[in-house]
Structure formats: C-alpha cells, structure tokens
C-alpha cells in the first residue's frame, strides 16, 4: 500500500510538472473564460456604439411588378424581416444587381407576380432562410387575396390567416431537447479524456521500458502497485482536468448569467442535473480504468516507443467504434435501440452507452446498477490481468511478442 501511494504521488507529480498538461488545462480554462465573458464584453462594446445601430441594418431591396400590391408587400416584408432595412425600389434588374455586388444592398427580391419571384444575393449562405420566409409571406398574401376575392372581408381573412394554435408538451421521461447539449458535451469529454489519458498511460509504460528504468522499477515495486499507481494517477489527472474545465465553465457562466439571459443552448448546457454529474463521474472513472489498464498492459509489451501507436490500435479502435455507435444513436434520437441496450452492459462500451441512455432516456435504476456492477467487476478483473501482462511484458525485449505467447506466459505466472 505504501508503495502504491509513493508511485501514485510520483506519477501525479509527473502530470503537474508536465508543461503540456498544465498548458492545455490553462488554455482550455482561458478559452472557456473568453467564451463565457464574450456576451458581457460584446454588450459593453455594443452599448458604446448604440447610437448608430439603426443605420447598421443591411439593406434588402424589394421590387414588385404590380403597383397595387406594392404597399401590401412592403408592409408584409418589413414585418417578416425585422433584421433588414427593407427598401422598395423601382430600378431595373441590372441596377439592382449592381447595388448588391457593390455592397450597397445585401439582397433583393424581384416579385413578378405573387406566386413567382427572383431572389438576388451576393454569396448565398448555408443558413440563408430568406427565400423560405418570403415564400410564407407571399403565400399568405396570395391566400388573403383569394379569400377577399371570394367575398370574405379583409379583416376576417387576416384573422383566419394569423390564427395561433396553443400547445402544451408534458414529457413524462426525459426531455431530449433540453438534455441534448450537455449530454453531447459530456460524452465528448468522456471520449477525449479516456482516449488521451489512456494513451498517455501506454506511452508512459513503454518509455519506462525503452529507457530501461523498468529494470530497476520491476525489482523495486510490485507490478500490481505499479499498474494501479500509474492508472489511478492518470485517472486523477484526467479528472482534475475535467473538473478544472467544467468547474471554470460553470463558474464563469454564473458570473455572466445575466448577459447570456436568453440563449437557449447556454441555458440548456448549464442546466445539467447534479445527479447526472455523479453518473458522469462514475462512468468516467470506471470506463477510464478499463481502457487505461488495457493501454498500460499493451504499453508494457512494446519494446520501442515508436511501436506504441500500432500496438494500441485495436483498443483505440474498440473505443472509437463504441463512440460512433453511441453518437449515431444519440444523433438519431433513439438512444434505447437494441444495439445501445446491448452496449450498455458490455464493459468496453457501457461507460458511454449507459451514460447516454441515463441522460437522454429513462433507465430503470436496476439496469443502471447492473451496468455499473459489471463495469466494476470488469475493471477489477482487467486490472489484475493487465498487472500480470505488465509483469511478463516489461521483461520481454526485442520484437513485440505475439498475443498468444503473452497469454501463455501470464497463465504460467
């Protein structure tokens, strides 16, 4: 136990003295601070130039061929495009084009008749919704005209067209819209940290072996103490980094909450229930152990640091596949499909799969408990096995040994 503590302390110190580790953590915290303080800073910026904001609106030119419809179209477009300065024009198409290419106007609609128009814009953005909005506006005008011509008074036609439907949604389980963003961020954090720190364990072990420090280590400490010390140290380092990043995000958000006021995504992210954070912690630690033990064991069988990348490939691939399955189900909205249900109990995938299901759907407590129990059992089993592989692996130099011969040697040890 003392040995384990010494190893843990030594390894942890390695992370805190590692400039890259400290640098990345600081960078992430600063980046989050920059994002979180942005609305406040932008607000101050905007306040100082408030006076000239009215003239800042982009210009939208509208030309209607039929003069009798022009006032109606002008009113409807002004209402539908509040972010534009809508100007009615009577210029011809080529001069309208010129004003767009010269930057005087951002876009233009030339409406030949109510059911047909041409939209002019300099660069068509991926997110340009103007035609869809214009379609709706013109459809409304067309329908009102049709109703008026068949004898319905204009006011009645207007109220028919603008009728509002009231709806109430009561989600009896989880609200996926509400949970989407923070679950997405949490899964991504889980994936990144496990992959990053798991590989760090592998290269840490392999570098000890290639520098021959292993000769001394293996005669100074028990392999199990070495393996658990290393894995738990890197788990703590990962956890500390997660806490620093998430903690600073929550802190900076709460400092700037009023400036974020209406942003639904920010509100959704920071509305994560504390219970889910506890689940995240459990699944992170257990998932991390499973992969870090595997990475450590593989690191011990590599003779050279350069071999590490190819040696860890199968484990990384396994992890990436489970990430893809989870992400696919997550994006499709059906997190309770059969594959996800199976993955929730397989130790290599359950840390992400079960966590996603808990976050996005309703999972009975016993299912979550069973998944966690399987994870704990497997983490312990893989830990003991990898300590054995480690003991055999670190003494094998030369070519990377075959999987079968390692298992045989472990069996004998």
């Amino acid at each position: 136990m003392t040995q384990f503590r010494k190893i843990l302390k030594f390894e942890l110190k390695y992370y805190f003295k590692n400039k890259i580790f400290v640098g990345i953590t600081l960078f992430l915290v600063l980046a989050i601070a920059a994002v979180m303080f942005f609305p406040r800073a932008a607000g101050i910026f905007r306040d100082s130039r408030k006076s000239d904001t009215a003239s800042e609106l982009s210009v939208m030119l509208v030309k209607a061929d039929s003069p009798e419809q022009t006032p109606l179209i002008e009113d409807a477009f002004k209402e539908a495009f509040p972010e534009y300065h809508v100007q009615i024009t009577s210029k011809d198409a080529s001069s309208i084009r010129k004003s767009i290419t010269s930057g005087k106007a951002e876009c233009a609609f030339i409406i030949n008749e109510i059911t047909s128009y041409t939209y002019y814009v300099d660069n068509l953005s991926m997110y340009d919704q103007n035609t869809a909005i214009a379609d709706g506006v013109l459809q409304n005008i067309y329908r009102i005209n049709a109703m008026v011509s068949s004898g319905i008074p204009v006011e009645q036609a207007g109220s028919i067209m603008s009728v509002q439907i009231e709806n109430h949604v009561e989600s009896l389980g989880k609200d996926q819209m509400q949970n989407y963003w923070y679950t997405y961020i949490m899964i991504f954090a889980l994936y990144m940290v496990i992959l990053l720190y798991g590989q760090m364990v592998a290269s840490n072990v392999a570098s000890e072996k290639s520098s021959r420090a292993m000769e001394l280590l293996i005669t100074s400490a028990k392999p199990a103490a070495m393996m658990f010390g290393k894995v738990i140290a890197s788990c703590l380092a990962g956890l500390i980094q997660l806490i620093a990043v998430f903690g600073s995000a929550i802190l900076f958000y709460s400092l700037n909450k009023e400036y974020w006021g209406g942003n639904p995504i920010a509100a959704s992210i920071f509305d994560m229930p504390p219970g889910l954070l506890v689940y995240m912690l459990i699944f992170f630690v257990l998932g991390f152990f499973i992969y870090a033990f595997l990475y450590g064991a593989i690191g011990s069988t590599a003779s050279k640091l350069e071999d590490i990348n190819t040696s860890v490939m199968p484990v990384t691939l396994l992890f990436v596949i489970s990430f893809v399955v989870v992400m696919y189900s997550f994006a499709s909205g059906d997190v309770d499909n059969l594959l996800m249900k199976i993955c929730s109990y397989v130790p290599f995938t359950s840390s992400m799969a079960m966590f996603t299901r808990i976050a996005m759907s309703t999972v009975p407590w016993y299912a979550a408990a069973a998944s966690i129990a399987i994870l704990i059992g497997s983490a312990a089993g893989i830990g003991v096995l990898s300590a054995k592989i480690y003991r055999v692996g670190v003494l094998l130099y030369g070519t990377t040994p075959k999987f079968r011969s390692i298992i045989k040697a472990v069996w004998k040890a």
Binding site: K6, F10, S211, A213
Partner: protein, 302 residues
C-alpha cells in the same frame, strides 16, 4: 548472514534456463557470479529479487526462506537506465522510497551518496544532461541509497573511466567492510579476482564450479612451473619438449607428476641463473574459459 540459492529450476516455455542452480554467498565477502551470455545470470538475479518465482528450489537467508520485507536488496542492472527527463534528486528519492524508507531519510541518504560520488552539483539537474559515466554513478546510488543488506552489481565497471573505477572500487570495499553481501556479475575477470573471495561459474543454468576462489586455484593440479630468466636457451635445451616459451622471458615447465615439483624446483634454482620461480596457478580467465568453453555456443545454436 548467508544467502543461499538452493536447487533453483526455471524454464521459459520449453527452454530450461536454470537447471538446479545452487550457490552460497556470505556477508562481509564479495561473491562473483560468472557465466557466458545466456548462462542464466540475470534470471537467477531476478529470482533472487523475487521478480518472478522459480519453478522449484528456494532462496534462503541463514537457512530460512528469504523474507523480502526484512531483507533489503540493492541492484545495479546491466541494462542501465533511469528517467532521462526527470530531476536526479526526484528519481533517486523515489527509488529509495519504493524500497521502503521514509522521505526524509531517503533525501538524506541520497544527498550523502551524491556527495560521496562527487555528484552533488548535479542534484537538481535532469539525468539526460549528464555524461554516460556520470549517469552510471547516479544509477549506482539507486542500488545503495536504501542501505541494503545484499548488493547486486551487474557489470558495475563497464563504461567507467579509471578514476571513477577507482572510486567505485573504494565504495565496494566499504560495503564489504560493512558486512554486506556483495554479488558481482561481470565478464571483467580482473575485477572479480580483485574483490571476490567466492565465485560460481554458471553454464547451461547450473553452477559448474563454485567455492572459494583461492581454494579453486589451489586445487588445480600443480604440475606446471613458471620460470623467469634472462638465459632461457639452456633450460629449453635441457628440458626439451616439456619446456615452452611464454611472454616476457618466461618459460613453462610441464612436470610428469606433481610430486616432482620439489626436486625440479631445487634443480632449477641450483643449476640455472633464474630471476623468479613459482608453481603455475591458472588465472580466473583460464578457469572460466575451461568451464564454459563449449556448451553456451551449442545452446545458442539450438
């Protein structure tokens, strides 16, 4: 304290590496573990250090199975290496602590050894900033800082310049004087002869020769004389084919039986002008070659 390896067997897969290996080493003495490459030295050291268990046989201290919690072992592996990117003081203290000594004692002891080996100025430097010889001295501290009862030194002199080799010799002599068991494994026979009172020569996983080095030499058939003379021709002419030339004006005279020694020596002293006359004793190198000559090559080929 007596360290004893008793009938140790160990195989890896189908390859039998140790084959009933037995030897004994006592405190206050240095013990030489010799053998060609692949003879099983490293495996026996690893078994002695409990890196892996023997298939059969035991490691005893004063007749009882060794208790690794009570018996401290210091080890300088042949494959040298520590953490190149870490501070020297940090890693030395770490290794001492892994051996079970407290932080303060570890720092104190490491500082003592850095001073003793003239390395104090490198205390807070990274290992990879040091020359190879100095790195070796740092590595030696990992074997000594926790004040072990048994010190295992695998090729301790390789890579050291004559001044550092002298320093290491002094350190080893100090450790022997402190009643420690010092186990040497080396191919540099002159060092073994200088330090070790007892040796074991390993071949194919067993000790083909072990015991007191002086006794081993004495037990060789004493049927050869060494004569140093400025006028060898007359002796060569008189002794015929029993006399062969050596280097530096020496002659070897082969006796037909060891009992002739006394009379022939008398005859030589009386009849010829000779500077030196002694009974030939084989060097450790000769003994080593004699006992390990064939088999290791065959093993490698198989």
């Amino acid at each position: 304290m007596i360290l004893e390896l008793q009938d140790i067997n160990k195989s890896f897969g189908r390859k039998q590496v140790l084959n009933g290996l037995s030897f004994q080493a006592e405190s206050g003495n240095a013990f030489g573990l010799l053998g060609r490459n692949g003879a099983g030295k490293t495996t026996s050291i690893r078994i002695l250090m409990n890196v892996f268990p023997a298939d059969s046989g035991q490691v005893l201290i004063d007749g009882r199975p060794i208790d690794y919690k009570k018996t401290q072992i210091g080890y300088l592996p042949e494959e040298r290496g520590l953490y190149p990117k870490k501070l020297i003081i940090d890693q030395l203290v770490y290794f001492a602590e892994l051996k079970g000594i407290g932080h303060k004692d570890a720092v104190k002891s490491v500082d003592y050894w850095l001073e003793r080996l003239g390395m104090s100025e490198y205390r807070n430097k990274r290992l990879d900033t040091l020359s190879k010889g100095n790195q070796q001295k740092i590595q030696l501290i990992t074997a000594l800082a926790h004040n072990p009862d048994i010190i295992i030194l695998d090729e301790p002199f390789s890579g050291l310049d004559p001044v550092n080799a002298m320093l290491l010799k002094d350190v080893v002599k100090e450790q022997i004087a402190q009643n420690k068991i010092v186990l040497f494994s080396s191919h540099q026979m002159n060092y073994i002869e200088e330090f070790c009172s007892n040796i074991a020569i390993l071949n194919s996983g067993r000790a083909v020769l072990h015991g007191n080095l002086h006794d081993i030499k004495r037990n060789y058939v004493r049927d050869r004389l060494i004569v140093r003379t400025e006028y060898p021709e007359k002796i060569i002419a008189d002794f015929g084919e029993n006399c062969t030339r050596g280097e530096n004006c020496t002659l070897f005279i082969q006796l037909t039986a060891p009992e002739e020694k006394k009379s022939i020596m008398k005859q030589l002293a009386a009849a010829y002008d000779i500077d030196e006359l002694s009974v030939f004793e084989p060097s450790l190198n000769d003994i080593f070659v004699e006992y390990t000559h064939d088999t290791a090559d065959k093993e490698d080929r198989s």
